[in-house]
């Protein structure tokens, strides 16, 4: 039992790890064909996952409506929106879904009128929250906080055209802030994360990290 539950998964993790890594560096037609084959299968698996995801989402909202949970009315809109997009997408302006998407079809109009507008609106709201958060966050409470505050003020003025009109120093200093302290901090974080990823991958491949197997041993 231990062999099936532990040894085989560890051997598979090692073999597929080495295979996945090595295939990127083997310059042979076999390697590229295999990569294309894998890409195809990933798409197939992705399609299956999409069906599962849709089922899971529908189940969640059905339960919400059936139990009359808080905000259940919104779940009705999920089904309305879903049905509307599926039906119009499949119908595709009379050309059906296996043909190219028909321009100015109902599906096209729904996408423009609902999805594009709603998506752009949601992102635009960020502007308001960022303004409010900036005012609450940038407080000169300590030396570090004051430095952050100054950097933020210089960047906010220096990154817009009016900054240069006020003083040539604003764009120059803001560019320096982006090129030097920003890059230094980001690079340190990226190196840390990347080294951590490599280390974790090696630990998984060599069976030192086994938490993905579940259980204690």
């Amino acid at each position: 039992m231990r062999f099936i539950r532990l040894t085989i998964p560890l051997i598979l993790a090692f073999l597929f790890g080495v295979f996945g890594f090595g295939i990127q560096y083997v310059p042979s037609p076999w390697a590229s064909n295999t990569k294309e084959f894998i890409a195809l299968w990933i798409r197939v698996i992705g399609g299956v996952a999409m069906v599962l995801g849709t089922y899971s989402l529908a189940h969640l909202h059905t339960t919400k409506i059936r139990r009359k949970q808080e905000g259940w009315g919104y779940s009705i809109f999920f089904f309305l929106g879903f049905a509307m997009m599926v039906v119009t997408g499949v119908y595709n302006g009379g050309q059906w879904f296996w043909n190219a998407q028909v321009e100015h079809s109902v599906y096209d109009r729904l996408y423009d009128a609902f999805y594009v507008s709603a998506g752009a609106t949601m992102f635009s709201l960020l502007g308001f929250y960022i303004a409010s958060a900036a005012v609450r966050t940038f407080r000169a409470r300590s030396l570090e906080a004051t430095l952050l505050l100054l950097a933020a003020l210089i960047l906010m003025v220096g990154r817009v055209p009016i900054g240069k009109a006020i003083s040539d120093y604003f764009p120059t200093v803001s560019e320096w802030l982006m090129q030097v302290p920003n890059v230094a901090a980001k690079r340190a974080i990226m190196l840390g994360v990347t080294l951590g990823t490599v280390a974790t991958s090696l630990r998984i491949m060599f069976g030192l990290e086994r938490s993905y197997l579940g259980g204690g041993d």
Binding site: A100, F128, R159, P161, K186
Partner: protein, 276 residues
């Protein structure tokens, strides 16, 4: 009276008012293009006529306000330079946006003579793992995209007699609202030695300066300001330049609020100290 500087009930209406004012009043602030944007412009400018540029429209409607002006400006520049443009996307929800951008720009009077499949093509969305698709494109572009967005076979297009795989592409421009540049860099640019530029949302800009600094990308067009810079270089004002006065006003408003709230904060601290 204590002024609630950080109260959203005060900030939100003022932000909305400043944006509305900035968009209604047509003031063009003087724009000096930033160096990373100039780098992209100069690189496209020096490409020989007929070179193939890959424009990856990797964004969805959430980033439309910032990335559409960049996409339009870059596409205009490429077509004006008589480069051949291959468009595609890794974002399923952004696929129609890419098509719309290509349709709009190519229908402008200046580009009426440009033909789909000859001067440009929009391939649309390809499902699957991005790494694998880029690798697939590096081996054979036609198997990766047997049809374009309008289901026309790519194999018969004159453009694809010239470009068989990513190796035939001279420049990649990724217009990203997410992590796509991190995959384009190792699997598209580094692997096939194709220069890469990135157009991105303003919040992604600081992250990508690391890539710029390491020469993993040769240029960066960040946010609406980046679009305005590009439009200035191109001499074709668009949504980027149009939004600059509003953006300047908003930034100044936030700066004023931050300063005012800090003055109030320090003043209160001082009063508290005095009271003991």
């Amino acid at each position: 009276m204590r002024v609630p500087w950080s109260d959203p009930r005060l900030i939100f209406p003022l932000v909305a008012g400043a944006i509305a004012l900035g968009l209604v009043v047509h003031v063009k602030p003087p724009i000096t293009p930033q160096e990373p944007v100039v780098a992209v412009y100069n690189y496209i400018q020096q490409l020989p006529k007929g070179s193939v540029v890959l424009l990856a429209v990797d964004f969805d409607p959430q980033a439309l306000a910032e990335l559409r002006p960049i996409a339009e400006a870059v596409l205009r520049h490429c077509l004006r330079q008589e480069l051949h443009v291959v468009g595609m996307t890794f974002g399923v929800l952004g696929a129609p946006l890419g098509y719309d951008i290509f349709r709009k720009v190519t229908s402008e009077p200046e580009f009426r003579g440009k033909q789909v499949g000859v001067d440009y093509v929009y391939l649309g969305f390809k499902p699957g793992d991005m790494t694998q698709i880029i690798t697939n494109m590096g081996e054979n572009l036609l198997t990766a995209f047997p049809q374009d967005y309008q289901n026309r076979p790519t194999a018969t297009m004159p453009l694809f007699q010239q470009v068989k795989s990513l190796k035939d592409v001279k420049y990649i421009i990724d217009l990203a609202a997410g992590g796509t540049p991190d995959t384009w860099i190792p699997f598209g640019s580094d692997k096939y030695k194709i220069p890469l530029a990135v157009g991105c949302t303003a919040v992604m800009g600081p992250d990508l300066y690391v890539r710029l600094n390491a020469h993993q990308i040769n240029g960066l067009i960040a946010g609406l300001r980046g679009a305005a810079d590009y439009e200035t270089l191109l001499g074709t004002p668009g949504l980027g330049i149009g939004g600059m006065f509003a953006q300047s006003l908003i930034h100044l408003l936030i700066v004023a609020f931050v300063i005012a709230s800090n003055v109030a904060f320090l003043w209160r601290g001082r009063r508290r100290k005095q009271r003991g």
